[in-house]
Symmetry: C2
Subunit: 439 residues, 2 copies
């Protein structure tokens, strides 16, 4: 008998690879943070001696979800300035508030809150973009969550850095100190075409090639962004990024609400990835991204919540359901965006965009044991015809019961595994609340 | 001291009337199923002697939600035939399955399941449309939920009735037997323009006038419905209903995805009500209703989940959030559909469509104590700037902790109040599952 850490025996397993697979009578074996086997339960019981066996006869096991775009450090601004358009929201609420509040402590506590919310909802990896990435990484490590941290650059000064080169240098220095951390990876994160100069984009592209890092950038979010670019640069933002050499398989373009058919074709041909944030795009009045056309063209895309200031839930189940529904409703084609395609976007396709598809995103032996269990046993999930479709159209994050990151259980029976950590965070939030409320 | 049944002392109260009101340090007093006072906590404590006092220092109290359109009896078909367009879904899945399964027991158990799900999510009233309304009423009464039951009519035979007159006669007979039931009201429910003849519509309209009953009808859901009507009747469905005399304040038109600006104007002028079902409209590829234009024109509308075969959650929190986001995203105007307007649509405006605005929909002394408490104390709701906006953009049904219908508590600490009833239902569902799975 082979000693292992954990054997999970749920009612169903959805491994994501191969697609359209729902296994019954199967078990997943974990050892030293990795998946070591996915096989019939009887076989697993006959050859493994697990230190812990977890049986969940009403639950489905699937990979932890990948949140491909968020600003976790903004979570203390949840719900500030709702019902406002993007530019007014940024200029009258978000930027002035950030100007007053931005600090290591603000990002630490905001990210800690975001991690707790995301883990509880089955998200095990997030692609972050925010100031003080060292604070974000620290909070993610405290929570035991996987982070793609940002080497952020933006062409205006903040409490974090005075100019573009300083942003980049600080991010690169942080990356050097964290090179061996197993749950931490990095993306270069030039904020957006309207806030980053040609020179800074050029340096980002050079660094991306030298260090083999993804480039995480807001792109074609609003019509205004495109019109401003035409005025300032004489071309659309995408054309400008092409000229600067940024279009390629290292790119993760976020939002991409406004693309021409030719631009979609171009992104597909160059192997660029996109991050779709449907709630945020609707809430800020930006529009509806043409994800059915993206998929048709062959673009790989994942799902993102964006920040809790523009969503206001860091809930990838809401984004899954909404992205599938919007693809159908906006095209008039109810077969657009199947449940399987949507589950893949929230897991493996997001991992692929981050260059992490060899490590996470599906339940394949050798990959990290980033997992979530979803309870389909309550009345609101009955009856069950199709587990895949139930995960997308029926399930909500409240049904996530247990979550593992690299084999460590972070959510146990729907509760954060460390009540003392949660209580300490809630106390710090209570201390923030009066200061925030007065803004 | 005045003896009363219950005093609820939450952190906040959102009475819906007056609009934009969030009360702190207030309590709600209930006696004999009705709201008797909403006043400062100190005052309430000084003059009432409640048999039960409920303190919820993290929660917001608001009226129970009104689900303005569902087919509760279809809940056993949850998730059947996902990712299919409306007509194929109806013709190859729903109608054949209903042909095989439809019975009193099917509707009883489906409605019981729907009631449990809806109550748990803070819905206290639902406007139903389905066969065997006596079974639906029975299930709703068992669950202690308020139902607007349907006097359904459709021009094809079913196990329930052979022809249009029989449908109407059976529904009218049922209404006669239930006239004194406090939680039961009725709507005439001609299924849709494509499934109901002129003669049946004419009789519906006569009955509506004689009995003062609302008329609940699917309307302009798809472009196909409109094209078919042009072919068969030489006019659009709305024009046909106008010709038959059905457009007026008794009408509750469901979906209304495809309306011209002139039709919107006409519906507003005639005082018609609409039921907006955003998830179902997207999922079936029907499109996006122009609710911002409806509101601009002055049309009263509520929110509906539609059935769990086309949604697949009977979750009015999802519909609130989605309806607000869609109004913004589809118009490019982030100020469309404010949180307050959306909360009102899910409560008072739905009640108004049903003619029940004197009884439910807001927390006003004299109205029935249909209430729900929502927990805003968990990390995923922190921090809190604006309670109204948190209810729409942050909260999910999982945050509903306690629900009352006519002063009777049906959900207690997020659990259905009668565990034996729940266990019996789950056992019956387990018995259905093999039969359903084989279809």
């Amino acid at each position: 008998m082979q000693a292992i850490d954990t054997l999970i025996i749920p009612r169903w397993i959805v491994p994501i690879e191969p697609a359209h697979t729902v296994l019954s009578d199967h078990a997943l074996a974990i050892d030293q943070g990795r998946i070591v086997a996915l096989e019939p339960t009887a076989q697993a019981l006959s050859r493994f001696a697990p230190r812990e066996t977890i049986r969940r006869p009403q639950h489905v096991l699937l990979p932890g979800l990948v949140n491909l775009h968020t600003h976790a450090g903004m979570t203390l601004l949840r719900g500030v300035g709702d019902d406002l358009p993007l530019m007014q929201w940024l200029q009258t609420r978000i930027w002035p508030l950030e100007g007053k509040l931005l600090s290591d402590a603000f990002v630490t506590d905001g990210t800690a809150l975001a991690c707790m919310e995301m883990l509880q909802g089955g998200v095990t990896t997030f692609n972050d973009m925010y100031f003080y990435p060292e604070a974000a990484v620290h909070a993610a490590q405290q929570a035991g969550m996987r982070i793609a941290a940002s080497i952020i650059v933006i062409d205006f000064p903040s409490a974090y850095a005075p100019d573009a080169d300083s942003y980049l240098n600080q991010g690169l220095a942080l990356r050097d100190t964290l090179n061996d951390e197993p749950l931490v990876s990095f993306c270069l994160a030039p904020h957006a075409p309207y806030s980053v100069s040609d020179a800074a984009f050029a340096r980002v592209q050079t660094l991306s090639e030298q260090l083999n890092l993804p480039v995480h950038v807001h792109l074609h979010e609003t019509q205004t962004e495109i019109e401003d670019s035409l005025r300032h640069y004489g071309c659309r933002p995408l054309a400008r990024l092409e000229r600067l050499g940024l279009l390629g398989p290292q790119l993760i373009g976020v939002h991409a609400v406004h693309l021409t058919p030719l631009e979609i074709e171009q992104l597909a041909q160059l192997g660029c990835h996109l991050a779709h944030c449907p709630s945020s795009n609707l809430k800020l009045g930006s529009g509806i991204a043409a994800t059915a056309a993206w998929r048709e063209a062959g673009i790989n895309f994942g799902l993102g919540t964006d920040s809790s200031a523009s969503n206001n839930r860091l809930d990838l189940w809401s984004e899954m359901r909404l992205s599938a529904l919007l693809a159908k409703g906006s095209t008039g084609n109810a077969t657009a965006a199947s449940a399987m395609q949507t589950l893949q976007a929230a897991t493996l396709d997001g991992a692929r965009a981050l260059g992490l598809e060899q490590q996470i995103g599906s339940l394949v032996p050798g990959k990290a044991a980033d997992l979530c269990l979803v309870n389909l046993g309550e009345p609101s999930s009955q009856p069950i015809y199709d587990v895949l479709s139930h995960l997308v159209y029926v399930a909500g994050r409240e049904q996530v019961s247990d979550v593992w990151v690299a084999g460590q259980q972070r959510i146990v029976a729907a509760q954060y595994h460390d009540p003392a950590h949660k209580a300490a965070l809630m106390a710090r939030l209570a201390a923030w609340q009066p200061q925030l409320k007065s803004l």
